[in-house]
Amino acid sequence: MSTDNRLWRIGLIAAAVALAAGCASGNSQAGGAPSGPLVIGASVSLTGDFSDSGKAVKNGYELWANTVNAHGGILGRQVKLNIVDDASSPTQVVTNYQNLINKDHVDLTFGPFSTLLTIPASQVAKRYGYAFLAPAGGGPAVFQQNLHNFFFVQPAPTVQSGDVFVNYLLSLPPDQRPQTAAYAELDDPFAAPLAEDIRQKLEAAGVRTVYKQVYPSETMDLSPVMGAIVALHPDLIVGGTQNEDAYSQVKDLVQLKYNPKFMFQSNGANSPLEFPDKVGTTNTEGIFAPADWYPGSKASGSADFTAAYIKAYGGSAQTVDDSSAEAYAVGQLIEAVAAKAGKIDNNTIISTLHSGTWPTILGNLSWGANGAPTGQFNLVQWQSSKLLPVYPSAIAQAKPEAPKPNWGG
């Protein structure tokens, strides 16, 4: 081996040691004696495709930080947020978390928006030993990483958010259940698997599938798809939807004058502001959707959260964005860990959250080893122009309305 080569190797080892030391020192700040503010870093999509939801996440984080600071902070330390924009880019999100951890030496990190960004971001956090609490991004690929430091802060993995609807249908007497079902699914890592999960469970329960198609995200005009469904007269229509396509499905069904006995949409219909605006208020009645937080929720801290949200951002309980509630719940968990453990650092968060059940505004949360939550979503339904929780009965504010009233009724 030449001297040059040896020097080169020594240099590499030295660099690796320096890097490891840097990481350790970055992480040890959280574990050291508490002093100064508790700095929490997060990369959020303030521009690009996810910017609407990203801003809502930012609102939720800031609302929590302001609330906790008004009550004296965490273990006497004021919370300081360091939020940066990732432009909805999976490359930028990696750079952002590396900077937050290595350059800014933040004490803790909170997650970004979407599965697309959560996957690379959680890998960075894992590399540096940071706990990673994500308010969004619960697609199957996230949990397949098997990260011990990861916690998805929603009641269940996103794909299983339709289970509550299946449970509701199966709770009905057999003669009131749908006999036939049609599934129109957006080709999306969230929407299609969710609808497929429902289909498999309903087929196993004897509900016959008469139509099942996946449509690409570029599909502007869903009327031929809905026309094909209408021709088969299904009792139930399940939309594996996001936003635009959810509105199109409803509008097309209204125009085609077909009213199914049951209708469920994975996303879109659970937006209290956008949905009635896009499809017309009178066309929302009876449509089901999954939800974690909902107006009037009795979950821990929900009333305070709602009041603080309205004070900070205006509107009413009906206009609170789910993504803000999920982000707020991330902060609640940090508070709860600190209260229970008497200290706050990444190792404490990881080990503490892996045991027990944690009350949040989204309900009681708990996680498996890979960060997948073990609970169940709530079923909400549009009734008299309001989105109300209707199942399970423990949280219901109204009885489920079935069969669905006619459009415009």
Binding site: D49, S51, D52, D187, Q213, V214, Y215, P216, E218, T219, M220, D221, L222, S223, P224, V225, G227, A228, V230, A231, L232, N243, E244, Y247, S248, K251, V254, Q255, L256, K257, E274, D277, K278, V279, G280, N283, W407
Partner: protein, 292 residues
Amino acid sequence: MHALVQGVILGVLTAGVYALMASGQTLIFGIMRVVNMAQGAMVILGAYLSYQLFTSWGVDPFLALPITTLALFVLGVGVQWLFLRPLHAGDRSQLSVLVTFAVALLVEGFMSVTWTTTDRGINTSYANASWTVFGYQITLVRLWAFLLSLFALALLYLVLNRTRFGRAVRASVQNPESARLLGVESEWVSAIGYGLGTATAAAAGSVYGMLYSFNPNSHYDLISRLLSIVLLGGLGSIGGAVIGALVISVSSSVVAAAVSPIWSQMTFFIVLLLVLVIRPRGLFGASMRGAI
């Protein structure tokens, strides 16, 4: 069978909206040899203008057409004068792709800042109304869109064939040098031609906003479809744009209803490929200048 017939009906009616958008696109190419990548963005801008007039002042999108088409006509003239006129005639077609794409990005940015990236829709009282004819549904807005499209295309035809301006346009297209020698102000013809093409986008945008939700990014989905329609019909041919819109819309709709929505997206590209292999000029494309 019911689904198939309903698919054909929906396809024909939707074709009207596409024909309206594509006629402007093909007009612009016919007059100026400009491959206009901004037409989709102009359609969405038209939808936003209608949305604003409807939500702020309750102006019906169809009644707002004189305002929105005039606004986009002026914008189109401005874009031509500022960005396209300086391009060298020799490589205008190639350069215009880049320049008009930049215009599309500018318009997209403007829309994002003005109306944010949230999805919008124009919900008139009749937006979801339909008539039942022999058990099939005829959507009111699509029917109006179809009729509006026929009206606008007829108007465009009359302007091009029965007016002095139309003669000047055709003269400029067929022989720009001779036209100039005979006193035709070809730069003004181009500017007004681009303005007219953009004005059709405003009309199509109003209808588009009633049929679908839209956001500043929606133009990306539109432009590939518009270019396909124009290529299929033949660059520069207004009649070709109508036939192209019908072929693409009906075939997509029927395949989505009877086979799969995944294949529906592919269908128009397959149809386009086949037509271009057999007839590279498109269905009604002229082999030389002067197709309009």
